[in-house]
């Protein structure tokens, strides 16, 4: 059977169960696709031996007849997840050579469900970036191009390798993580689906920490159905993460009826940004029309503190990062700088961190250090946490008015060229996350769904935001949007 790597999870599961295909064959197809896609720089560590071993075990399990949905499904894993015995560098030089002695809970949940690991995927260093250009492995490249222009475009970030790999069919799906939009923005840039669940749904244990109060893992997939299947396998209570919620995990796929009659979906007026391309405005209006046609009631809402979400994020996230990244000191793991005669432990820390961290990470760690330092803690950090309370309350207020979900654009533009933003000041890059970051600050679930192409032939996505813990309902609204939008385009192969 040709092109097994192009299957969705749901299609592959059905074929595996029917005995039409084996996990070994699926895995070989993906390994081959990944090996011949070096130009995308999506996979940064290949694990073919592990993959083939897991695939054989999955086939044995499937033949016994009681395999879970993810059994035998080949996946790519973002480099931020610790995977036992396999390099896990978070895209950073400072973790060069680090091979964890343990497995992250999320990846372990996937292996327990029978999934297959193809390798580790490129990402911005410590998930700090929106273009995958801060990675020690070099840029990941978007499989999409502008018409016949062969300029390399960003797949977005920080889960850029995951997005590129899924869009180019190098794997059936991938894990991502999202601190300010790092699943949803790259999903939108590459025409795939990505969901960030409610804070606490997925265990953070074994996921290299960036900003602990914002970080969440989630699936990046070829369809909403696949997102439902894979999310169910990833989440669940974990005693090793004190913020992991002890709630039953619903069968998300069973909730995909496509029926959204009577659902109230909000359109927030503050998300109409100055200078937003007409195409994005139109896509958003079209999306609202599709949901209305499907029976939803569209209502205008206000989220008055939206404007302050990015500034609050750029205090809170660097503050938490400066604390989390203090552990990289050249003592317990990773890189240690070569020392000069007479250098003491302070020089070791300073040289190790200067060599090991890239420019953006250094800048964020230092900004975080500054906003937490004596004299500025109240003015910046405490004020940002108060603004965060207000941002969350904005959402609580509209949910209290009976709103079930909120529709917004996923990104303020389509994918941009690699290097195009290199001369811009850091704040210009931060604006990529303007529609997604509010969701992390409020701890809510959010999903990006591909909804159309721009004039240059690049994919554009819409975002739906749901109530806390109601991923099932959110996925169902996304499913209705997906069916109405009918996005089926794929990038033409050039790599």
């Amino acid at each position: 059977m040709a092109d097994l790597n192009k299957l969705t999870i749901a299609e592959a599961r059905d074929k595996l169960r029917a005995g039409d295909v084996t996990s070994v064959a699926l895995t070989e197809a993906c390994l081959n696709a990944a090996e011949t896609a070096g130009a995308l720089n999506a996979f940064v560590h290949h694990t073919p031996e592990i993959a083939m071993e897991q695939a054989k075990a999955a086939d044995a399990r499937i033949s016994k007849g009681d395999a879970p949905a993810m059994c035998g499904i080949p996946l790519g894993i973002k480099d931020l997840f610790c995977t036992k015995g396999v390099p896990s560098q978070a895209g950073s030089r400072i973790l060069e050579g680090f091979k964890p002695e343990y497995e992250s809970t999320v990846s372990q949940n996937l292996w327990d469900a029978g999934a297959v690991m193809l390798g580790k995927l490129n990402m911005d260093e410590f998930a700090m970036g929106s273009s995958n250009e801060t990675s020690v492995y070099g840029n990941a490249v978007n499989p999409w191009r502008r018409g016949n222009d062969d300029a390399a475009l960003t797949p977005g970030g920080s889960s850029g390798g995951s997005a590129s790999a899924v869009a180019a069919d190098l794997c059936l799906a991938a894990t991502g993580t999202d601190t300010g939009g790092s699943i949803r923005q790259p999903a939108a840039f590459t025409g795939i689906t990505g969901i960030k669940p409610t804070y606490g749904r997925c265990s953070r244990w074994g996921v290299v920490a960036f900003a602990s109060s914002l970080d969440q893992a989630g699936p990046m997939t070829k369809s909403v159905r696949d997102a439902a299947i894979m999310l169910e396998a990833m989440c669940g209570h974990d005693p090793k993460d004190s913020t992991s919620v002890d709630l039953p995990v619903p069968n998300f796929e069973a909730m995909l009826t496509g029926d959204i009659k009577g659902k109230k979906i909000g359109i927030p007026k503050e998300y109409h940004m100055d200078g937003m391309p007409d195409e994005i405005e139109k896509l958003w209006a079209d999306g609202a029309e599709m949901l209305r046609d499907a029976g939803a009631e569209m209502v205008d809402i206000s989220l008055p503190h939206t404007k302050y979400a990015l500034p609050a994020y750029y205090v809170i996230a660097p503050a938490e990062a400066s604390s989390n990244l203090a552990r990289y000191d050249g003592v317990r793991y990773g890189h240690r700088a070569k020392l000069a005669q007479g250098d003491g432990i302070t020089e070791m820390y300073e040289k190790t961190r200067a060599e090991g961290f890239g420019h953006e990470v250094q800048r964020r760690v230092m900004v975080g250090t500054y906003v937490l330092s004596a004299g500025f803690y109240d003015a910046y950090y405490n004020r940002a946490r108060k603004v965060r309370t207000l941002i969350k309350k904005d959402f609580e207020d509209v949910f209290a008015q009976g709103v079930d979900a909120i529709l917004t654009p996923a990104t303020p533009s389509a994918a941009f060229g690699l290097g195009e933003m290199s001369d811009a000041d850091p704040v210009a890059m931060y604006l990529n996350d303007v529609f997604t970051v509010t969701v992390n600050l409020a701890g809510l679930p959010g999903i990006a769904v591909p909804a159309g192409l721009d004039k240059q032939g690049l994919p554009l996505g819409l975002q739906l935001i749901g109530r806390p813990w109601e991923e099932g309902d959110l996925l169902n609204s996304a499913y209705a949007l997906e069916r109405a939008a009918g996005f089926v385009e794929k990038p033409g192969r050039w790599w």
Partner: protein, 95 residues
């Protein structure tokens, strides 16, 4: 609030990141761009607002105060850049 070269040097020191003198002015400029952006938070009326501690209201789970694992010295030292005689090794700390 504007950050000068000396403040940038102080922040780099606190963060334990070596920054060459020549790089300090550019770094200060970048800090100012980011801080200029976050200054907007000053416009928000936060009177009487509690700073957020936890995004999902939850009571942290408790467990028995007992040892749950251990005896894995090899695993813990496995990734160390310099481990000797069962310890992490670092440059001399005390004269």
């Amino acid at each position: 609030m504007s950050i000068d070269k000396d403040t940038a040097a102080k922040v780099a020191k606190l963060a334990r990141i070596k920054v060459e003198d020549a790089a300090l002015p550019a770094l200060a400029e970048e800090f100012n761009a980011v801080l200029g952006f976050i200054e907007q938070l000053g416009e928000v009326d936060v009177t009487g607002v509690e700073p957020m501690v936890s995004v999902t209201p939850m009571r942290l789970k408790r467990r028995e105060d007992v040892v749950t694992d251990g005896n894995m010295q090899d695993k813990i030292l496995k990734n160390a850049p310099d481990a000797r005689e069962g310890f992490f090794a670092v440059p001399k700390v005390v004269e």
